[in-house]
């Protein structure tokens, strides 16, 4: 297995270098210096700025410098827009809010979807199953934006009218460091993050439920289920012991694959709810041409993505002895 991991690692080096190359090239299509300096500028100022940012060097050299920094895990480059902050600091600050949104929604979505999928498989072909399948398709056909707009409307305008207080914020965030973990978990998190988490759970549920139901239906047609039934196992036992166990492989795969996306955060939710996470920061950085941040974000994401893909394959082999890594 270690040979396999090592080979995959070496195979992914050109992929990683390609990602960095693509992003750096794409960013350099436009000259960022004009935007970074104010309206009034002289030729000398532009040249000096270019030198300061290292944009005067040939592209290959810039590429080399950045790769070297990545290899030595050096994230001390200064942000071009927020002077005085290093890329590492910015990432550290933004990853918390993003995770506060994405981790709970991933956990909730998976638990609820698997439960609904089991229910759907239990009543397969009957009205409850049909109703669930239809509502999943209906839910998938509405735009994410609509869920956000209506979520904000009900939480910010309708619900406070009904109960006389506002349980959810429509924008803003309080970091964990501010008042300690107790206040954060009990007060700040539910106030700022619960609503966006609920919205993203509702949006994701349609897709996940359909996928997990398809997995369950596929499993329920297999021989070992028939055998278990023939041996006289009860329906709950067949479903929860035999079927769920085997359905775990695709479930785990799907969950592990989404892990890298946890750190990019949910860009739309962060922007609409003004939560200062990675997605929002990334958008600001791209708009303001803050190259170091965009490059570092992309590189870190890609590294995690590649690692978790590898992890999926290895987990596969561990969970399912039939799978051979080659």
């Amino acid at each position: 297995m270690w040979a396999y991991v090592l080979r995959r690692f070496f195979y992914n080096i050109p992929v990683f270098m390609g990602i960095v190359l693509l992003v750096m090239l794409a960013l350099r299509v436009r000259d960022p210096v004009n935007g970074l300096l104010g309206k009034v500028k002289t030729e000398q100022e532009i040249a000096a700025k270019r030198m300061e940012l290292g944009l005067d060097k040939p592209f290959v050299q810039q590429y080399g410098i950045f790769l070297k920094k990545l290899c030595t895990l050096d994230f001390d480059e200064e942000s071009w827009v927020n002077r005085g902050q290093t890329v590492g600091e910015v990432m550290q600050r933004c990853v918390g809010p993003s995770l506060a949104l994405t981790v709970p929604s991933l956990v909730l979505t998976t638990l609820i979807s698997v439960a609904i999928a089991l229910m759907s498989a239990w009543y397969r072909g009957r009205w409850l199953d049909k109703a669930l399948v239809i509502s999943a398709v209906l839910g998938m056909s509405v735009s994410f934006l609509v869920y956000i707009v209506f979520g904000q409307y009900y939480a910010a305008a309708w619900l406070p009218d009904q109960i006389g207080m506002s349980p959810f914020a429509v924008s803003g965030y309080e970091p964990l460091e501010k008042d300690g973990i107790g206040t954060y978990v009990l007060k700040h998190w539910p106030y700022y993050c619960l609503l966006p988490v609920l919205i993203s759970v509702i949006v994701a549920m349609g897709y996940d439920t359909r996928f997990y139901r398809a997995v369950m239906v596929e499993e329920s047609g297999r021989d070992y289920i028939t055998t278990a039934r023939a041996k006289g196992a009860s329906q709950p036992k067949v479903m929860f012991v035999h079927m769920l166990k085997n359905a775990m492989i695709p479930i785990i795969t799907r969950v592990v694959i989404t892990i890298p996306f946890l750190i990019t955060g949910s860009f739309l939710l962060e922007v609409y709810f003004a939560i200062p996470g990675m997605g929002k920061q990334l958008l600001t950085a791209v708009v303001e041409a803050d190259f170091p941040i965009v490059q570092a974000f992309t590189a870190v994401f890609a590294a995690i993505y590649i690692a978790s893909n590898l992890l999926t394959d290895v987990l596969y082999a561990v969970v399912d002895p039939r799978v051979r890594l080659s």
């Binding site: 992914n12 050109p14 992929v15 990683f16 390609g18 990602i19 693509l22 992003v23 794409a26 960013l27 299509v29 436009r30 000259d31 398709v137 209906l138 998938m140 056909s141 509405v142 735009s143 994410f144 934006l145 609509v146 707009v149 209506f150 904000q152 409307y153 910010a156 305008a157 398809a214 997995v215 596929e218 695709p250 890298p260 996306f261 990019t264 860009f267 739309l268 922007v271 997605g279 990334l282 958008l283 791209v286 708009v287 041409a289 965009v294 974000f297 992309t298 994401f301 890609a302 993505y305 590649i306």
Partner: protein
């Protein structure tokens, strides 16, 4: 079992699949509207931007609060008044020059006033002033009441006065022909947005954007993906290496980063300048303006991320087919590789291309909403994404017409495509989970 009978069996299955057929008809209807907008100029960009009435009027002529009715009729009156106000300025200027003022110029200005297809009545400027004054008198009477929204016992009086004011307002505008009135009702069918633009026309125009984005990106992505997937799967070796490297690389860049960076690339006009240099200014002429004004950045951004899916699937299927007996048989018979690829492998992956196209179509329409928000995407005209985003503040004021219209039309199209692609998958690729 020959290919032909297989195909006709799939077609029969499809024709018998009722939800799929209904969805197919719905999609065709959308495509027909989009074609009418693109080719027949059913709704133009100007129609999307023009004012059709006061801001935020509800659709279907839903009964309104007195206050809103008063605001709306005042708005119509003010349009005339603004033109008339020019008279005072003109008068003063002419008198200073010792010329006797006439109303000709003012009346000319008034003839030019258009609210949708509503135009001012064909009367003199003095008559306008008289009618306006009596209207403002009625309005002043209405202002006596403290709370128009909760009139209590005064309801009948307020209703009478408001109707009278509305009648006086209507007399400022020309009598419309039945056809014009019908058009006007249609324009105001779903009400107006904050800028007084017709929600109905905007949501219809958005169909054009959605269909264009769906068809073009679906087509380009499937074409690129199949081409690379086929080549990688069939030729193997270094071709496979390059293609796998390419899609691993593209897949490892988060989608949203890719879209943002591409949005950034297209915004500055550097690409326009570069392409114009390259082609001797023929590029700008070809696309009729700058890239930002067209949907080309959207197509590029989506195709750059969407080709990965079909490429992966088709590469896998081609790898499998390459080892199949009939392909080996054709190899033994000495057919060329191109012939084997085009005549033997391509037909057997075409169902995957179709399924992927329909999946990408949905993805493109739904992502367009996000892209409009990012600032590439649609700049002129309208799109459902822009409409839903604009509706954020309206919703807080309990105005749901814009978001409702955009969501309903988008829902219809996406639902139809969801059902269709499910049916396609069931019929053409039953093994797929």
């Amino acid at each position: 079992m020959s290919g032909a009978s297989d195909e006709s069996r799939s077609l029969r299955k499809f024709l018998r699949h009722k939800p799929a057929m209904i969805s197919f008809v719905v999609i065709l209807a959308y495509v027909a509207v989009a074609a009418a907008v693109i080719l027949g100029d059913l709704v133009s960009v100007e129609d999307c931007e023009r004012r059709y009435g006061p801001k935020s009027t509800p659709g279907f002529g839903v009964s309104q609060l007195f206050e809103k009715r008063l605001q709306d009729l005042s708005w119509y009156a003010e349009q005339i008044e603004q033109k008339l106000a020019l008279r005072q300025k003109l008068k003063r200027r002419l008198q200073s020059r010792g010329v006797e003022p006439t109303n000709e110029k003012i009346e000319q200005e008034l003839r030019g006033l258009r609210i949708g297809n509503l135009r001012p009545a064909d009367i003199s400027a003095e008559d306008f002033q008289i009618r306006l004054d009596s209207l403002w008198n009625t309005v002043a009477e209405l202002d006596e009441f403290d709370d128009l929204n909760n009139p209590g016992s005064d309801t009948t009086t307020i209703e009478r006065l408001t109707s009278a004011a509305e009648g006086q307002m209507r007399s400022l505008y020309a009598e419309q022909t039945p056809a014009e009135a019908r058009h006007r009702n249609l324009h105001l069918l779903f009400g107006t947005d904050v800028a007084g633009r017709s929600v109905f026309l905007r949501s219809i125009y958005s169909i054009r954007v959605a269909i264009l984005v769906g068809v073009v990106t679906g087509f380009i992505s499937v074409a690129i993906g199949s081409l690379l997937g086929l080549a990688a799967g069939y030729f193997g070796g270094w071709v496979d290496g390059v293609v796998t490297w390419l899609y691993s690389t593209f897949a490892s860049i988060p989608n949203i980063v890719m879209l943002m960076v591409l949005a950034y690339m297209f915004r500055g006009g550097e690409i326009d300048a570069w392409l114009n240099d390259l082609t001797g200014d023929r590029f700008g002429w070809l696309i009729g303006g700058t890239l930002d004004e067209t949907l080309i950045p959207v197509f590029v951004a989506f195709s750059a991320t969407f080709w990965i899916g079909p490429c992966r699937v088709i590469r896998g299927e081609t790898l499998k087919l390459r080892e199949s007996e009939y392909v080996q048989a054709s190899q033994v018979m000495g057919y060329s590789r191109v012939r084997i690829l085009l005549r033997h492998i391509l037909p057997n992956i075409s169902h995957l291309m179709l399924i992927n196209f329909s999946l990408l179509f949905i993805g493109a329409i739904k992502s367009e909403v996000i892209l409009s928000f990012l600032g590439i995407g649609v700049q002129s005209g309208a799109s459902w994404g822009l409409m839903i985003d604009a509706a954020r503040d309206e919703v807080l004021n309990d105005f749901f017409w814009q978001i409702g219209a955009a969501t309903a039309l988008m829902f219809g199209l996406v639902l139809a495509f969801n059902i269709l692609s499910d049916a396609l998958q069931d019929i053409l690729d039953p093994k797929h989970v």
